[in-house]
Structures are given as structure tokens and as C-alpha cells.
Amino acid sequence: MDRSLELSVPSRTEYIAVVRLVVSSLASARRAIAEERIDDLKLAVSEVCTNAIEANMSTGKNHPVVVTCWEAPERFAVCITDSGSGFDPDLLPQHPPVTDPNRLNFERGLGIPLVRSLVDDLRFESAPTGTSVWLILFGSPSSEGQDETSEILRVVMTEEGQADR
């Protein structure tokens, strides 16, 4: 529990802005993560949270969406959990290549491919009782909490991170 933050919000679309705000302010105030990567994280969180809200809403019950942020050496992780009926991420339909005129028929299904290209690591844990999605960014901590005089480091992301994108 020492360095983790947990946020639990009603499964209503109006709360998604607060989730983005919390995750991005936490990541930007406290981590050696470049500005541009904060935008990537915000977008990834928004996509996954949209799916979690929809999964919960479709159960007709009042389950919250639970967002947990962990700060560990060398990484910042966000886990978004719903109590929906689950899905198999390996069975998602493939999109036609972007040059295909049929591209226009895909108003949905853009989310998870987008998330994959935004974060350094993406993991799903899904069961009929709910889904947890982990978003991981690499990047070392800005400073130890005790040292109040040190400035926030904004180092460029690691080589691995860059290669993934």
C-alpha cells in the first residue's frame, strides 16, 4: 500500500475525466516521464476506462470501476478493474489495413489497438466475473519522496519504450 493510490468511481461516463486527471497528474508530478508520454497514458486510460464503464453498465448492476496506480522503481503502472462479464482479448476482430477503403466501416474497435501502441506493456486478466487491464510505462522515479528540494526530472523515455511505439 505504501506507494499505491486507488480510485473507485461510479460506472458513469461523466467520471472518466476525473480518472484521466488523477492518473495524469500523478504521473506528471511524480515520475520521470516525458510530457508527451503523459498524453499517451491519458489516452490509454480513457480507452480502457471507457470499456470498463461499458462492461459494468451492461451488467445492470452498480459496480464501480476501480483504478489503481503503482509507482515502482523504473515503472509506473495503472490497473483498471471492472465487474463486467469479461472477454477474450485474443479473439478481437482484426482491422483491415489502413489503406483499405473498408477502414471507414470501423467506428468501433479502435480502442485496444490504440492502447497497445501507446503503452510499454499491456496486460489483460479477464474472467466472467470481471476484467483487469494493466497499463505499464517504463521510466524511473523522479526523486525519493523524502528529498523535497530536488526538481522533477523529465527524462526521455527508455530505449525500449521508444522501440515499442
Binding site: 472518466i16 467506428e107 490504440l114
Partner: protein, 112 residues
């Protein structure tokens, strides 16, 4: 935060819809309604100005793609105005830069 939606009809045949704020699953329905309304009112050349948009996710992309399809099926078109790197990036990653005409200004988008 509510989405800002301003319609400017002073540049016929173009109708400029200036969007301000964050386009996500909460706000996207308002944008969809506005586009549907404009098309049903007979507007056929719609320019969506995204310069004041702070955030756009795939729900917003879906609405824009939906608007484009609706307009094309009426022999119209939907053009975007966008120069912000972080917004352009979303179109690039999803390959939608090849689908939309993206202009650098409303003037450019509404040139005869």
C-alpha cells in the same frame, strides 16, 4: 466539463463546427447529435475545427468517422482543422489521416 460546440454558417457552402474541450465517451454523444442535426438540416460541407480540443479518444474518432460516412452518403464531405501534435497523433496511429482531409486552418479548409 461540457463540450463547446459553435456553428458558423458565414462561409457557404461550408459550415464550420468549432469544438472546444474534451471529446470522450461522456461528451461524444453531444458531438454526434450536433453532426446528425447539421446533416439533417441540409448542411453538406462540414468543417470540424478541432483547434480548441484538449483531448480526443477513440470514441471521438468514431463519431467523426460516423459523420464523414453520413456526409459522403449524401454527396457531402467532412474536413478537419487540426494542427495540435497530440490530437494529430491519434489520427496517425489509427491510420485515419488517410481517411480524413485535415487542414491547417479554417481559411484553408473553406477555400473555394
Amino acid at each position: 466539463m461540457e463540450l463547446g460546440l459553435e456553428v458558423d454558417e458565414s462561409r457557404p457552402p461550408y459550415t464550420v463546427l468549432a469544438v472546444a474541450g474534451e471529446i470522450d465517451v461522456y461528451s461524444a454523444p453531444r458531438l454526434r447529435e450536433k453532426l446528425v442535426e447539421l446533416v439533417s438540416q441540409g448542411h453538406r460541407q462540414i468543417v470540424v475545427d478541432l483547434e480548441k480540443v484538449d483531448f480526443l479518444d477513440s470514441t471521438g474518432l468514431g463519431v467523426l468517422v460516423g459523420g464523414l460516412k453520413r456526409l459522403r452518403s449524401h454527396d457531402g464531405d467532412l474536413t478537419l482543422v487540426c494542427t495540435q501534435a497530440r490530437i494529430l497523433k491519434v489520427f496517425e496511429i489509427t491510420g485515419l489521416t488517410t481517411v480524413f482531409r485535415i487542414s491547417e486552418s479554417v481559411d484553408e479548409a473553406t477555400k473555394a
